[in-house]
């Protein structure tokens, strides 16, 4: 059975304030879904309800078909999460903190140390595994938190702004880790649209507690950013006007502009199919092209169009 998460009429009210209103969202399969929205939109509230940190006022939050309120142990048995920036008991070492989770989650005794070493290795914290967490910086603690989600190879991973508090290298490393989490369903909130574009396949946007859109990034970009997607084409050397002119003439291309000396931003009409066609045409140019990737600019345009103002 593929991993799944489902919010069915999920609602959260605090008195007269509605933090989340009747959210219906079903994520299924092994992929990464970005969860976007302005501050106070209801992203963290949603994730907290999926992890039992808060209870819904109405509706259901289900992981792999199991409602969290009905059987939290079963629902979260195949799910790991990182919500906000958790603190760890300060007098425990990184290894002990992860050992506690490994024991609680029922990792077989013989595998615990190996898994902990591997998880700490992935977040580059092996050197610090016997140091007390209380002496760690915020970024180091967040690395341990990220490692905690890798201990049990869960089917579902919920990440609430996982790169918060990390330096640029740490952010990049977390992105690489998330990208490497194939065979899993990853549900990740972030304010960094470039991060979501880089890491995720699909995106769900909410605002004022309501779901605005859920689709692939390409489709969202195509639908909500002047009807087009956006890619960045990288060249091995300084690019002159000639390739830009040729790309401009390609089918579906709306706009071509230089982002810097070796990159062109290409805006095109259509979704994934149009992007595929464009890729084939651009690859055939033979002008020292070294990269072709979706940019966050399209998603940003879609985001700004969908979300008019922040709270």
């Amino acid at each position: 059975m593929p991993p799944s998460m489902e919010a069915a009429g999920l609602t959260k009210r605090y008195g007269s304030f509605t933090a989340l209103s009747d959210l219906n969202l079903k994520l299924e399969g092994t992929k990464c879904v970005g969860f976007l929205g302005p501050n106070g939109a209801g992203k963290t509230t949603t994730m907290k309800m999926f992890t039992g940190l808060i209870s819904p006022t109405g509706g259901k939050a289900m992981i792999n078909g199991v409602e969290i309120r009905e059987d939290k142990k079963k629902a979260l048995g195949s799910c790991a999460s990182l919500i906000e920036t958790p603190e760890i008991y300060p007098a425990l070492t990184a290894r002990e903190a992860l050992m506690m989770l490994a024991e609680l989650r029922g990792v077989p005794k013989g595998e615990r140390l190996k898994r902990i070493d591997e998880a700490l290795g992935r977040v580059k914290m092996q050197e610090w595994e016997d140091k007390k967490v209380g002496s760690f910086s915020k970024g180091m603690k967040q690395r341990v938190n990220v490692a905690s989600t890798l201990l049990t190879d869960p089917q579902v991973i919920i990440l609430d702004e996982p790169s918060t508090g990390l330096d640029p290298r740490g952010m990049s490393e977390v992105r690489d880790i998330v990208k490497s989490l194939g065979n899993r369903l990853v549900f990740m909130s972030s304010h960094l649209l470039s991060e979501v574009t880089d890491v995720c396949h699909e995106v769900a946007m909410i605002d004022h507690g309501k779901l605005l859109v859920y689709d692939t990034i390409s489709n969202v970009t195509a639908k909500f950013s002047d009807g087009g997607g956006m890619v960045e084409v990288g060249f091995s050397r300084e690019v002159d006007d000639e390739p830009a002119g040729r790309i401009r003439k390609m089918e579906g291309v709306l706009e071509v502009r230089k982002s810097n000396g070796r990159h062109l931003i290409v805006k095109f009409a259509g979704g994934l199919e149009a992007q595929e066609n464009l890729f084939e045409q651009v690859a055939g140019l033979g002008k020292g092209i070294v990269s072709f990737k979706e940019t966050s600019s399209g998603l940003e345009e879609a985001y700004l169009k969908l979300i008019k103002e922040t709270v």
Binding site: P3, Y14, K48, T51, G52, L53, I54, S55, K72, K73, K74, A75, L76, G77, S78, S81, I83, E84, T85, P86, E87, I88, Y89, P90, A91, L92, E96, A97, M99, M100, L101, E103, L104, R105, G106, V107, P108, E118, A119, R122, K132, N145, S148, L150, T152, D153, P154, Q155, I158, G182, N183, R184
Partner: protein, 286 residues
């Protein structure tokens, strides 16, 4: 890492999870500054009492006071009976005061709770860890008292002292459950600790005194009243409720019997543990 997702981890029992939380929460206490501060307080108190007893040999400790029963009883009454409740109060404030509120304020709950574990297992695990830490303090205080008693009065240790130690531990169990309930009420560590100290140090005593003196009501609802069996059991014969004074100054002094005291402590433990668990289950990590 393993190549693909695996959910072959065992579904571990809640009791086993309580044991795991207890182990790591105690480890966290044991290495914390507060553990050593509390230990220092206990050692300092014991040191001062030892110095006072050894250097001054006052009648307060039973030196030179004729008794009908075991001559060391007044010593244990003075040392243990007078100060053990302070050790209990401080231990509970240090280890239980913010045990649950800290999970919210310090955000450690965000590390533990979003796992396949019931909140009740986290609560119980932390309670047992706090109990072990507080019991350690009580045991150290009791052992030093015993050491001094044996040194000054010989090995004939009155069994009433053993009873009193046992009752003190029962009292600790109940007071810790009470403290955890308060800790579940608040999200601020400082406020929960302050409230517990105020309740145990002042509120119960004031209410007990007023109701006893003004209305002549036995404060059977008070955990502090129940705790008075700890020094009372060191008095032979066991004291009973009595009335003193004349006319408008006539006043009844209530003394709980041992079964009454134990029943009140048991009721406090059960009720506050259940209420605390309920509060923690319902409290939201907002």
């Amino acid at each position: 890492m393993n190549p693909g997702p695996s959910v072959e981890t065992a579904r571990i029992s809640t009791i086993a999870q309580v044991r795991i939380v207890t182990k790591y929460a105690f480890l966290n206490y044991f290495r914390s500054r507060r553990f050593y501060v509390m230990l220092t307080i206990v050692l300092l108190m014991s040191g001062l009492l030892t110095f006072a007893a050894g250097y001054y040999r006052p009648a307060f400790f039973g030196f030179g006071v004729p008794t009908t029963g075991n001559p060391s009883l007044p010593f244990y009454t003075a040392w243990w009976g007078n100060f053990v409740l302070l050790v209990t109060l401080l231990s509970v404030a240090f280890f239980g005061g913010d045990a649950i509120s800290g999970e919210f304020q310090n955000k450690t709950g965000y590390f533990l709770v979003p796992n396949p574990i019931r909140r009740s297992a986290v609560y119980a695990g932390k309670w047992f860890a706090a109990l072990i830490a507080a019991t350690t303090m009580l045991a150290i205080f009791a052992l030093i008292a015993l050491g001094n008693g044996v040194y000054f009065f010989g090995t004939s240790v009155p069994y009433e002292f053993a009873e009193s130690v046992l009752f003190a531990w029962f009292d600790l169990v109940a007071v810790l459950a009470f403290a955890f309930m308060f800790s579940s009420l608040f999200k601020s560590s400082a406020i929960s600790v302050l409230m517990i100290v105020i309740m145990l140090l002042f509120v119960f005593n004031i209410v007990d005194t007023i109701l006893t003196a003004v209305a002549g009501i036995e404060p059977w609802f008070s955990i502090v009243y129940a705790g008075s069996i700890i020094p009372s059991v060191l008095t032979v014969p066991y004291p009973t409720t009595f009335t003193a004074g004349q006319g408008p100054f006539r006043q009844t002094v209530f003394v709980p019997t041992i079964p009454e005291g134990l029943a009140i402590l048991a009721a406090y433990f059960v009720v506050t543990a259940l209420v605390g668990l309920y509060l923690f289950e319902k409290k939201e990590f907002t």
